[in-house]
């Protein structure tokens, strides 16, 4: 097996709210091979973002990582002190957030936003940092970078803001980049540009990327491997082609069927119901209340993490017997 840059095992991140303990991430394991792009897929509330926050150790209160291990580049992150983590964040791993209008501080110019982090992590003079910021803006394809340096976020379009946010995340050459639904809040035409940019930058910087999304189209386009999450648990894990051609989990099937397609005239299939209450999740398989293949056993027993083939794992009692449809 190739070098795994990130290995998350049995991660549990709970939110201790007044209503009860929300198990946002409940026993999630995944690994990311160096230089690859993996997809982290699921509906809202499936634990995608919290997984990323857990790795960076920036889970907001009242959330807390309560168990598991996170190995990054050979080091155990959960054993690191806050000061050690601070040095890694931004320098070795970074994250691009969903909404660029809120993820940039409205009070500071683009230059300030970029040089701030450069000066924080690198031994640079102010002039060197400004020069580096300028180069970054060019890299992320911002026109007139010199005048944009002096611009405030509200003077930029959504797409440009996200480019600045990407430039900021990449400023110190991180090994690992989380992209947390980086295009959800952008216009469709801009989405494609930003995704292309990410792809190109990944190659250029030799980064490893974790693409967090609920859009199967982006998964198909961007990723080499996919981890499907539901209600804080991993449902299926496979390389992208396999997942799209031979899904073994009913939830994966449902996700694939919920993608609109120009070729098909059939009505879009939706997944009935909502993601369960994570304070009091369903017994047995967490997906059984919404699963059309659910049987007696699904309500009673937690499914095992089973190996379908090399590089393909699934958590379903019935994967052997089910003939799941793939999108054609």
């Amino acid at each position: 097996m190739a070098n795994q840059l990130l290995e998350v095992s049995n991660l549990r991140t709970y939110f201790f709210t007044e209503a009860g303990v929300v198990k946002a991430v409940d026993d999630i394991s995944l690994s990311v091979e160096e230089g690859k792009t993996i997809g982290l897929v699921g509906e809202s509330g499936s634990g995608k973002s919290v997984t990323a926050q857990s790795v960076l150790r920036i889970v907001p209160r009242p959330g807390r990582v309560v168990g598991g291990t996170i190995k990054f580049d050979g080091e155990e992150l959960l054993k690191k002190s806050e000061a050690e983590m601070r040095k890694m964040r931004g320098a070795k791993m970074a994250i691009v957030f969903q909404d660029p209008t809120t993820s940039l501080n409205p009070l500071y110019t683009v230059e300030k936003q970029l040089t701030d982090i450069l000066l924080l992590h690198k031994q640079l003079t102010k002039n060197q940092a400004t020069a580096a910021a300028l180069k970054l803006l060019e890299k992320v394809g911002i026109s007139e970078p010199t005048s944009r340096l002096k611009a405030y976020p509200h003077e930029l379009s959504g797409g440009m803001k996200q480019r600045v946010a990407i430039a900021r995340a990449l400023s110190c050459n991180p090994k690992l980049l989380f992209a947390d639904e980086p295009t959800t809040n952008l216009d469709v035409t801009i989405q494609a540009q930003v995704l292309d940019l990410l792809k190109q930058l990944q190659k250029e910087f030799g980064m490893t990327m974790v693409m967090i999304t609920h859009d199967m189209g982006i998964v198909a386009d961007m990723t080499e491997r996919v981890t499907v999450l539901y209600a804080g648990k991993v449902m299926e894990d496979a390389d992208t082609v396999t997942l799209f051609t031979e899904p073994k989990h009913p939830y994966t099937e449902a996700l694939l069927k919920a993608v609109p397609s120009v070729a098909q005239t059939r009505a879009l299939e939706v997944i009935p119901g909502n993601i369960p209450n994570l304070i009091d999740p369903p017994t047995g398989c967490v997906f059984h209340p919404r699963c059309k293949y659910a049987k007696e056993i699904c309500m009673k027993q937690d499914p095992q993490w089973e190996k379908v083939s090399d590089n393909h794992y699934v958590a379903c009692h019935r994967w052997r017997e089910l003939k799941l449809e793939t999108r054609s």
Binding site: R61, R86, N105, T109, L120
Partner: protein, 296 residues
């Protein structure tokens, strides 16, 4: 981008300043405030008589009504009211401005701590702030002034009043700062800064506090008027520093002769009204400029 927009500064402060310049009541308030500030700064040069001077008594002008020589009249004891109002301007503005700035600093530190550090610290800060918010501060200010004015050296009376007013006056700012900190700390750009390696103090003082300054500035400008009024009340009731001329002290002196020598109380009273009006108008203008969404 046109040439014109290119040249316009776009920072939030620059935008707010442009909005403020178009605000009529804000400008009137600022003019009044500027006038009082000039009077305060230049008071030694423009006042006809030094503070607490009985010179008009020797000139035989004691108790005279307003005239060209003595525009605001003369007290029975022989003090020129016009000069005293000017000297009082300096002292009252000193009290109002220092107390407002001190409460702003105290309020930001306490409020930001209470909003940012969760757990016990937050609870304690909230509790203490609430206590200071509900206690009858005027009575305690009078009590503290009466006790401590006996202990301080002559000449530090006003500074003592500033300290007492600030000690009892920071809770309003702290409340707003705490609430705003709680709101802003959850914003994406704070989380983003954290994800890029910013430390807690950096998050707090570079990202959170600068983003909550707008309401703080508005409250502080209104607080200036409030503290001036409180100082007037304290001095009027005779709890202030009797060795220093303030508007309240003049009101106190004029109160006894209000039927005969009405000018001794009237002119300081009008001055108080105008200055407080000026600071309040300026504060409203700032509020409109800094929080345009709150209008209407």
């Amino acid at each position: 981008m046109t040439e014109r927009t290119k040249r316009r500064a776009a920072s939030q402060w620059a935008v707010a300043w442009r909005r403020f310049r178009r605000n009529r009541s804000g400008l009137i308030g600022t003019s009044i405030v500027t006038f009082f500030l000039l009077v305060a700064i230049l008071s030694p040069f423009i006042a006809p008589y030094p503070p607490r001077s009985y010179q008009p008594l020797y000139d035989g002008a004691a108790g005279q009504s307003p005239s060209w020589q003595h525009p605001f009249g003369v007290e029975v004891s022989g003090i020129d009211v016009f000069s005293e109002v000017i000297h009082g301007t300096r002292n009252d503005l000193y009290v109002g401005l220092s107390a407002a700035i001190l409460t702003m600093i105290l309020g930001i530190i306490i409020g930001a701590l209470g909003g940012y550090v969760k757990g016990l610290v937050s609870d304690v800060v909230l509790g203490v702030t609430q206590i200071f918010f509900v206690i009858p501060t005027l009575l305690l200010i009078l009590l503290f002034a009466r006790i401590f004015l006996q202990l301080v050296f002559k000449g530090f009376g006003l500074t003592l009043i500033v300290l007492i007013l600030s000690f009892f006056g920071w809770s309003g700012v702290a409340f707003v700062v705490r609430g705003e900190t709680l709101r802003v700390r959850e914003m994406d750009f704070v989380q983003a800064a954290k994800s890029l390696g910013a430390s807690s103090s950096r998050l707090l003082f570079r990202h959170i506090v600068p983003n909550i300054l707008s309401p703080v500035i508005v409250i502080t400008s209104l607080n200036i008027a409030g503290f001036i009024l409180t100082e007037v009340v304290v001095s009027f009731l005779g709890f202030g520093d009797a060795n220093t001329t303030t508007w309240g002290l003049l009101l106190n002196e004029g109160f006894s002769y209000i039927r005969t020598d009405w000018w001794v109380a009237l002119f300081p009273g009008l001055t108080v009204v105008f200055s407080v009006l000026g600071f309040n108008l300026m504060g409203d203008g700032l509020s409109d400029a800094l929080n345009p969404r709150l209008r209407e």
